[in-house]
């Protein structure tokens, strides 16, 4: 067991290959409790793979992901399942179960992992929906909701079990600028109100500068730089400058854009 402070997330020497191609190349990150850490990078940079490796959905080829000093990838599946109750995840496509109602979706982790009374679960689900501004939508079907509302239901589900850490995969992808700002504000509010540690993967730079405490820039599977907003904005690295300014000319070429896993 390595020396890591309590409730910190530590990614150590992470390597992941898909069919021989290196997707994550020796990644090292330390995330403090209560901070919002944003992983940025273009499509195919490996940021979704990194997030999935941190949630335990993908096993790395080498390296460790420590929570509280424990490496989740050395755990058995049962132990990992128990550990997963400590974090929530908001998915790019919301990933709500479409055969359940909004309230049933939010209640699902509570129904599955607790022995609380159904009435109490319903009250908690309503509270969580209120936190994301969706009170009154409990009995709606997922198919009746707009993209932004689905994201918010996904957020409510992610915080249903009062997690310590919430992972967000592209929380603002496909949303209009106003809804983007609403979701960003929600992430900030939830992080403060619930004292969460947030790990966000995105390539929406406006969003990044609104919510991030620290930013890690991933490029071709390597962590180019980790720093505060100011440090990233003032970075002398041409790749980072091209990426945050969204310029066509620079070291990043479109033909390097590969499948995002």
């Amino acid at each position: 067991m390595i020396e890591t402070n309590k409730k910190f997330i530590s990614v150590r020497n992470l390597i992941k290959k898909f069919e021989g191609r290196i997707v994550l190349d020796n990644i090292n990150i330390d995330i403090q409790q209560g901070e919002t850490f944003v992983i940025v990078g273009g499509s195919g940079s490996g940021k979704s793979t990194l997030l999935r490796t941190m949630t335990g959905a993908i096993r790395p080829d080498q390296g460790e992901v420590y929570y509280d000093g424990k490496d989740i990838h050395s755990m058995e599946e049962d132990e990992m399942d128990k550990f997963r109750k400590r974090f929530g995840m908001s998915f790019q496509n919301s990933a709500l179960l479409d055969f359940l109602s909004v309230e049933e979706n939010v209640s699902l982790p509570l129904v599955e992992h607790t022995r609380l009374d159904q009435k109490l679960i319903s009250i908690i689900a309503k509270m969580k929906l209120k936190l994301v501004g969706l009170q009154g939508f409990e009995n709606y079907q997922v198919s009746q909701l707009s993209g932004g509302m689905r994201k918010r239901v996904g957020l409510a589900r992610a915080i249903a079990m009062d997690p310590e850490i919430v992972f967000y995969d592209e929380p603002t992808a496909g949303l209009d600028p106003v809804v983007c700002a609403v979701v960003d504000q929600l992430i900030l509010d939830l992080t403060k109100k619930l004292n969460l540690t947030s790990v966000v993967v995105t390539h929406n730079m406006e969003s990044v500068f609104r919510i991030a405490d620290r930013i890690g820039m991933l490029y071709k599977g390597k962590m180019l730089q980790v720093g505060t907003k100011e440090e990233i904005q003032n970075s002398t690295n041409p790749v980072i400058q091209q990426f945050i300014k969204g310029e066509i000319n620079g070291p990043i070429h479109l033909n390097e854009d590969v499948i995002d896993r």
């Binding site: 949630t55 399942d81 997963r84 998915f91 496509n93 179960l97 479409d98």
Partner: protein, 264 residues
């Protein structure tokens, strides 16, 4: 060399599929039986909903397929028996053919087409929309949450549908026998049950349990393996139905062989 390499690769792939489906089956049975000891008992509400969807809503299609099969068998057999002057034996031939073989197999094939495809399409869409990953991230075992209710519902409903299929197949034969071959209803019924032994019924009714396991496991396995969006879901659904069809016929042959050789 390439030819033999291909054969080797294909055999290895098929063995991998077989071992994956077997482990899915054991995991499903494990969670069905021992889930309660992990404080995760079977969700009977979901099982019941699935039973309604898989069973009640399949009644009409099973009835039509087996009824007309009964009609066809009676019409095909009638001229042969008429030549021998023993036309009333049509009834016993229809009942034995339906109860031992055609009722269980045709019902299973119809359900593989209707329910096996639906299971794969549903689970496959969940896979490509990250819903399966969401379940895993929430610490919810997808096999326990999705596979167990579908497996149990089909395990209960397929034998029930087979009984219905047997009855409607025999009714199809009866309609031809009484109306077209002019066998009296009493004689038709008497001949039907005179030659139909209990063995014919229970060997026939043991098969749907195996077929139910095949349809549900293949359906869920292909769903969980789905990749690549809408096209992937379509491909997985096709593979699921084709694999179920082939495995049902093979399992039927093996089971019939076992009953034949041990004279069961």
């Amino acid at each position: 060399m390439n030819f033999f390499e291909n054969i080797g690769i294909n055999i290895r792939n098929w063995l991998k599929v077989f071992s994956d489906i077997s482990s899915l089956f054991f995991a499903t049975v494990y969670w069905s039986v021992f889930g309660v000891f992990h404080r995760k008992p079977v969700n009977f509400k979901t099982v019941f909903e699935q039973m309604v969807y898989m069973g009640l809503q399949s009644i009409l299609i099973v009835f039509f397929v087996t009824f007309f099969t009964g009609v066809v068998i009676a019409m095909q057999l009638a001229p042969q028996f008429q030549k021998m002057g023993a036309v009333f034996y049509v009834s016993s031939m229809v009942s034995i053919a339906i109860c031992r073989e055609l009722g269980p197999v045709l019902t299973a094939l119809v359900i593989a087409g209707r329910i096996g495809a639906a299971i794969t399409a549903e689970v496959g869409s969940m896979k490509v929309n990250e819903q399966i990953e969401a379940l895993e991230t929430m610490g919810i075992n997808p096999v326990r949450y999705l596979a167990v209710p579908k497996f149990l519902a089909l395990l209960i409903m397929l034998p029930c549908l087979t009984v219905l299929g047997d009855a409607s197949g025999m009714f199809g034969g009866y309609v031809v026998g009484v109306n077209s071959l002019h066998i009296s209803p009493g004689l038709y019924a008497q001949t039907t049950f005179k030659f139909l032994s209990l063995k014919d019924i229970y060997t026939g009714l043991s098969k749907p349990f195996v077929f139910a396991a095949i349809i549900s496991m293949v359906g869920i396995y292909q769903g969980l393996k789905t990749k690549g969006g809408a096209v992937g879901v379509g491909q997985a659904t096709t593979i699921s139905v084709v694999t179920s069809f082939i495995l049902i016929i093979i399992a039927d042959c093996i089971l019939t062989g076992i009953y034949f050789f041990i004279n069961f």
